[in-house]
Subunit: 229 residues, 2 copies
Amino acid sequence: MTTNDACAAPLSPTPRTTLTRARERGRTERADLYPILDTGLVCHLGVLLGGTPLVVPTVYGRAGNTLYLHGSTGAGNLRAAVGAEVSLTVTHVDGLVYARSAMHFSMNYRSAVVLGRADLVTDPAERLEALRVIVEHAAPGAWDRVRPPSRKEMAATMVLSLDLTEASVKVRTGGPRDDAEDIAAGGTWAGVLPLRQEWGAPVPSDDLGAGVAVPEDVAVRAAGGVVSA
Amino acid sequence: MTTNDACAAPLSPTPRTTLTRARERGRTERADLYPILDTGLVCHLGVLLGGTPLVVPTVYGRAGNTLYLHGSTGAGNLRAAVGAEVSLTVTHVDGLVYARSAMHFSMNYRSAVVLGRADLVTDPAERLEALRVIVEHAAPGAWDRVRPPSRKEMAATMVLSLDLTEASVKVRTGGPRDDAEDIAAGGTWAGVLPLRQEWGAPVPSDDLGAGVAVPEDVAVRAAGGVVSA
């Protein structure tokens, strides 16, 4: 389920994923898409709800060329996505670009926009595997050491899948692209202030009994520090 | 322009911003909305483009109860938003919640979803002020020391405004809400791994001349470290 077989195939360019501006920031390979998705924690899902393009932050997970979402069967936002055209965006902000002129300020970032139809997953085995993929995406190494979903929990959970074939990846790196006159004028600082996410030290739950050690997956993540760089 | 006069008024609840689930995570005061917007760097804008609810990451700024967006006049995504119903979401992920069972894993977060019509700003003074607000939001203290927008740059720039009256704020804090039986069973670690964003050291642009010091606004931000906590 987590093979990268599709990695060699370029993303399918369609009119809505073909960049009309800033083409040099566009990426067309699946190898560019997967790392952006895999290192994100939250995606922003776009669903049409009552005529409004609603943007909902939610967790997700990827298995091969399929992205999984889940939620309560009572979640109206997610129900609106079933069988519908949606978009899903993951954005990493890597730094702020300080320029010599106001209009050249920018951000260094990596973003992926996926477009497609969200399908309801009904096969019990795939539903469970999707939940494993989502939990492992959010908390790598945790699934095998915690209580699996009960029958009741599974019944209350909706799982959606989204094919990763139609996507647009944009990446900006490096310093400001100032105008030649502003560079020549000198005197104004220009550069990048990098931004990174970092995990802190584990905070045990108030209701945790004595003598329960921090598991290795949590300790490793806390020690590793950087989530995305 | 940056007064908090509207702070005392509750957000206007409408059917689409009234939470149907997890009501305890909902916030209804403007005082909850503004800090979430003010400490974010990027928002995710939902626009209806060719029938698809497209989610576009973009920068923004807030002045009082108005949120401003900008972009190139050639940006199809932004043009699609003019005069249209849009949504705009800002999300901070504050930590990962490790539970004793798979389905109780969660995230600590603060998110705001704003709904409304995006209006084209045409008044020259408001357009310039909006750009100042956006640059100052992304890079506090920078506007006054850099070259302001030229007439040509202004002509190539589209500015949109969005009223902040209809919004939904959600906040999750604290440890996992595990089932009583799982807590009683003991043995499985539960708690929170905090996540924070941190600025790194300034990286001067390759084309920066010798002897140009890092400005105070950049130095202060780099030293302050935490963007959102």
